[in-house]
């Protein structure tokens, strides 16, 4: 079974600074998707960014970017110019075909003003 590991239960960052959240996964597949979801205190899960495994180019969405290392099975999220609204739980997730998303345990990010 696929597994997703987030080794940092908690992280903190100063406002306007950059922070990187780590994620590794285990799979024997070559075609899959990886995601980062954000869950603020409102509890609403929000898709932050998506990466298709067959694409070598790292995905970017405004201040959010990923470092996708397929051979190393690593998928880290970089948040640039951190804002107070970025404070949330962040979940890394794996998807293969029509199967359910597999989530990591999450990283709680605090942003210090």
């Amino acid at each position: 079974a696929q597994t997703v590991t987030q080794s940092q239960p908690e992280m903190s960052v100063q406002e306007a600074e950059t922070v990187t959240l780590s994620c590794t996964y285990d799979t024997s597949e070559s075609d899959y998707y990886l995601f980062w979801y954000k869950q603020p205190p409102s509890r609403q899960m929000i898709l932050v960014i998506r990466q298709e495994a067959y694409k070598q180019q790292n995905a970017t969405e405004n201040r959010f970017s990923v470092n996708f290392q397929k051979a190393a099975k690593s998928f880290s999220l970089k948040i640039s110019d951190s804002q107070l609204g970025d404070a949330a739980m962040y979940f890394c997730a794996y998807l293969r075909g029509n199967t359910p998303l597999v989530f990591g345990k999450g990283t709680r990010l605090s942003v210090i003003a």
Partner: protein, 115 residues
């Protein structure tokens, strides 16, 4: 605006009660999912459904059942609630992978307390 709606945001039930958690989506998605979220454990899959009247066990189905009589509605049932089922429950939906769309949409969660 796409929407997944869970019937209750907060729920308090007594041990032994039969509990129904309802989830409705308005996006005509084939796939629906129930996850349980606990601190330090992330989201764990309870049950999922690929279509009406279909259901599949996830990683932690014990003590739960589900019902999907209509495409838009996926219900999670706790047959006899126990205190170890106190948790946050998240419903999600997603179109079939044949659509090429991989994004899952989530409800706002139901925080269930069993006393």
């Amino acid at each position: 605006d796409v929407k997944v709606t869970q019937s209750s945001r907060y729920l308090v039930k007594r041990t032994g009660e039969k509990v129904f958690l309802e989830c409705v989506q308005d996006m005509d998605h084939e796939n629906m999912f129930w996850y349980r979220q606990d601190p330090g454990l992330g989201l764990r899959l309870i049950y999922f459904s690929y279509d009406v009247k279909m259901k599949e066990k996830g990683d932690i189905p014990e003590g739960y059942s589900v019902s999907r009589e209509k495409k838009e509605r996926f219900s999670l049932i706790l047959e006899s609630a126990s205190t170890n089922q106190t948790s946050m429950y998240l419903c999600a939906s997603r179109p079939t992978s044949l659509s090429g769309n991989t994004e899952a949409f989530f409800g706002q969660g139901t925080r269930l307390t069993v006393v």
